[in-house]
Symmetry: C2
């Protein structure tokens, strides 16, 4: 047991940052998706998650903004958003300052989904904290936060 664990450790040695980020990221998204489905939010697909990950919960978001953040065309995002509107997760209100634009906002149902997703991620986070230790988890989050700030600076300088 200890032996095989150490063997697995060895196998991690050469791993690149891409793979090291991918495994935990997919773990989170798949667990969240399964929880949502099992909790009655069963009319969404995996693809819709990107919308909930990027929408501004308070003020809503524009279609174009969601598309940019999700690295997809506005037409593709339009397709996802329409599904979510039809199923009652989103509604759009005209933007008071721009006659072309609409702000996509979470409905009550949409907000409930997001709430559950957040709780699920928190639960995963707590599980990991127990397993790798509270200190390491805090360090992990702190470094990732720093990295995310840098990476978003790269993007946002238009």
């Amino acid at each position: 047991m200890v032996h095989s664990k150490e063997k697995r450790w060895k196998q991690q040695e050469g791993r690149l940052i891409g793979a090291l980020l991918r495994v935990p990221y997919y773990t989170v998204t798949y667990q969240v998706y399964e929880t949502l489905i099992a909790s009655g939010f069963d009319d969404i697909t995996h693809a819709h998650l990107i919308v909930f990950q990027n929408i501004n919960e308070k003020h809503g978001s524009r279609l174009t903004e969601l598309a940019r953040k999700s690295n997809m065309t506005k037409q593709s995002m339009g397709y996802l958003v329409n599904n979510l509107k039809e199923n009652g997760y989103l509604e759009d209100i005209p933007d008071p300052h721009d006659g072309r634009a609409r702000r996509l906002c979470l409905t009550e149902r949409g907000a409930a989904l997001v709430q559950l997703a957040i709780e699920t991620v928190r639960a995963i986070e707590n599980d990991w904290k127990e397993r790798i230790g509270s200190d390491q988890m805090d360090t992990l989050k702190q470094i990732l936060k720093e990295l995310v700030v840098l990476l978003e600076e790269d993007t946002q300088e238009t």
Copy 2:
């Protein structure tokens, strides 16, 4: 400048581990994909990356194995793998121990793609190292490695 940076820091405070992993992970994959396209590997799509991420470079992998690791059906993986065979990235050799199975292996071209992908990730890693510091980068990788070991234990205990 310092002010706005601190403001952005504040915005990270409430971020969950899901978002903190997603931003750097997508940064890596999009940069790798763009580098591959720009370097002449322009007959692959984003979806194909998952195959290269999961294939065993030395001994090849089975279709079913790739499908499981990628969280998709073997039919879907079969579709991706066929594309890659047609474009000369993969070839399959019959499994000597199992008449039903084939081992999917990288061709020379496939190996060249993987090599470039690895170099690109290493370059990103070095860039990040310069920006957040070598110590933090090492710590980040070390904690992620530990986490990945745990998460893969969860999966592999069938």
